[in-house]
């Protein structure tokens, strides 16, 4: 098994010099292509186990990552590919991990839900990651680093009690914790109305945590809002929450989707690639897409050869 090269591929992650619009598009498209490749590999039987793609939610991943600096920390959940890739650019490591290779992110032990890199971790046990993220924020506070700890959770995860225990302590101790709640309106097979009473934003505010709610798949809006919110966490050194109303365009994991077809279809109109893609010059967009496709393609090829 030839070792893989895990240095981020600029065709996928873009370069800092690239115009922001293009770079954001490239990075979202990178996540999309990666996950589409993953789903293909599953169908082919080359991957096993389970996986949770974030197709449709790429703007969250990319928009937040824009504002993090080395020393910040991200704690992600089961739906972590996008968060991981936006944070690290390490497509090769993640694909290797999902293939079960020893040169994967976690040597094949973690698999799709349990990733780890400097400043990044994920765990598939819902909600239980929240206090760990708060503990990391406490470490940052005690060290006086000025860094922050980001916790990504889904709407369904608001069912878990430990989330509230954590919000209380984070607020009480003024921890630099930034909670990003990706509200995609569904929790596995369960629509929000069967899962959640009261308000989403109120659940954070009840603990004295300033909370912003945006209903968008537009990466520029997310980028902008995240910038403000993250700056505010850094400035005040205390927690904030951002609720993003979004939608998952793919299955919950691999093949489980019982949502009304019309609902899903209507949401494709708000596909973040589409929303932001129209802003790009058509030709430039085509170039970016083909670069990303090549990047992912060569990666998949490399792993396919090794399999």
């Amino acid at each position: 098994m030839p070792a893989i090269d895990r240095t981020p591929d600029l065709r996928l992650v873009g370069s800092p010099e690239e115009p922001r619009d293009e770079r954001l598009f490239r990075r979202m498209f990178f996540l999309r292509c990666f996950e589409e490749a993953v789903l293909d590999l599953f169908s082919e039987g080359l991957l096993n186990g389970t996986t949770h793609c974030c197709i449709g939610q790429e703007a969250d991943c990319v928009g937040i990552a824009e504002h993090l600096t080395p020393g910040d920390h991200v704690f992600s959940n089961h739906r972590c590919h996008g968060h991981y890739l936006a944070h690290t650019g390490d497509a090769a490591g993640l694909l290797a991990e999902m293939t079960g290779r020893s040169d994967g992110v976690c040597g094949g032990v973690g698999g799709s839900q349990h990733l780890c890199a400097p400043g990044f971790k994920s765990n598939g046990v819902l909600g239980g990651t929240m206090p760990a993220a708060a503990g990391i924020a406490l470490a940052q506070q005690l060290r006086g680093t000025g860094h922050l700890s980001v916790a990504f959770i889904g709407d369904g995860t608001l069912g878990e009690g430990v989330v509230y225990e954590t919000l209380n302590i984070a607020s009480l101790w003024r921890l630099p914790l930034f909670v990003v709640c990706e509200d995609n309106a569904w929790s596995q097979s369960t629509p929000k109305r069967l899962n959640m009473a009261g308000g989403l934003r109120e659940r954070f505010e009840a603990f004295g945590i300033p909370t912003r709610e945006i209903d968008t798949t537009d990466v520029l809006e997310i980028d902008h809002t995240a910038g403000e919110e993250i700056a505010a966490v850094r400035h005040a050194g205390s927690p904030r929450a951002l609720v993003i109303q979004t939608y998952r365009l793919c299955h919950h994991s691999k093949s489980d989707d019982n949502r009304p077809l019309a609902e899903v279809e209507s949401r494709w109109l708000l596909d973040p690639l589409r929303v932001h893609g129209v802003r790009l010059d058509g030709q430039r967009r085509g170039e970016i897409e083909s670069e990303v496709r090549q990047g992912i393609g060569s990666l998949v090829e490399c792993l396919r050869r090794a399999a």
């Binding site: 389970t50 040597g107 032990v109 799709s112 839900q113 009690g161 019982n258």
Partner: protein
């Protein structure tokens, strides 16, 4: 009929015949019907009594406790056995305590059902067999799903009594066919039923009658299937004859059936998928070593998973979870 279907039919039958039965669980409603589809169809027919819940393992377990205290018979599906950790306080400090703590003025017969075990590449937090941590909680029964005993028989017994239960379903059983011990599914193997003392029987499986067996294998869950296969192969290929005992209830252990077998074979192998150490097999080995002190031919062999997390990568997972060959090897040792 495959096990998951048999179990679904059982739940349906219980709902039909016992108005006290209520099903709670995450994503158990139609059309999804649960992560492993066991409850498919039930919420459509019993919308009030089959309730999909928020992602709140502790609360739904506790709500079941309240229902049970009021005379209902709640059955909770915990989506993965890995998350029973979140129910641990409710089970140990509430459900299992209410009866005795209140001097038996009340009963709290909650049943938790949960899919356990690896073999599907789900990784460290979705593949565990955590029942070992629930064994030995006073007043809690732990029961394991099996292909050899109709779930309706099991659940009927559980509903006829009043102790709380953790019912563990190995995921690899779901797609497998139930084995009709009296039928011709496995014409070669001999099946028996030792009704024991706990209200639930222990199934015996062997290629030859007990008196010709030289080792007893005590196994449950998917391990029982692997052990039965191993017993057959060893009988055919190596003339090693093992009697497999598959208890329905794994804690408290119903010692009678096991003692009757070990009294003949004087050698024992335990098989479980949980990690080694302080597991099911440890208690069994301790007790059998005591009860048969001086008369066992060999020390009790215990087969269990490595003391580590369960990796996602298939080849790594297989190294840590006991496979057919590990079981066969333990039987060979024990038969000597």
């Amino acid at each position: 009929m495959i096990f998951s279907r048999a179990l679904g039919n059982t739940l349906r039958a219980l709902l039909e015949r016992d108005p006290r039965v209520i099903l709670l669980g995450e994503d158990i409603a139609d059309p999804y019907g649960g992560a492993f589809k066991v409850t498919r169809g039930l919420s459509t027919d019993f919308p009030d009594r089959v309730r999909t819940t928020p992602v709140s393992e502790a609360a739904i377990t506790g709500i079941a406790a309240g229902l049970a205290l009021e005379g209902f018979r709640p059955i909770v599906e915990v989506m993965f056995c890995d998350f029973t950790t979140l129910c641990f306080d409710q089970v140990l400090n509430h459900i299992a305590k209410y009866g005795a703590m209140y001097d038996h003025q009340v009963e709290c017969p909650v049943i938790l059902r949960t899919p356990a075990g690896g073999g599907r590449g789900y990784g460290p937090t979705h593949s565990q067999s955590l029942e070992k941590h629930f064994l030995g909680i006073p007043h809690l029964r732990v029961v394991a799903a099996s292909l050899y005993l109709d779930p309706l028989t099991v659940f009927s017994q559980l509903l006829s009594q009043s102790e709380p239960v953790l019912y563990v379903e190995h995921k690899l059983l779901y797609p497998l066919s139930m084995v009709d011990a009296g039928g011709d599914d496995s014409p070669e193997l001999l099946f028996g039923l030792d009704s024991g003392e706990c209200g639930l029987p222990t199934v015996t499986i062997s290629a030859v009658p007990r008196r010709e067996c030289t080792v007893t294998v005590f196994a449950y869950g998917y391990g029982a299937v692997q052990a039965a296969n191993a017993a057959w192969d060893l009988a055919i290929e190596e003339e090693i004859f093992a009697e497999i005992l598959v208890p329905a209830q794994i804690a408290p252990v119903d010692w009678g059936p096991l003692e009757r077998s070990v009294a003949v074979t004087r050698s024992l192998v335990t098989v479980e998928e949980g990690t080694a150490g302080w597991g099911w097999g440890s208690e069994v080995a301790a007790q059998v070593s005591r009860r048969f002190f001086g008369s066992l031919r060999r020390p009790v062999e215990s087969v269990a998973s490595a003391r580590d997390v369960i990796p996602a990568a298939r080849h790594l997972e297989q190294q840590r979870i006991p496979g057919a060959e590990a079981i066969a090897q333990a039987i060979r040792e024990a038969a000597r």
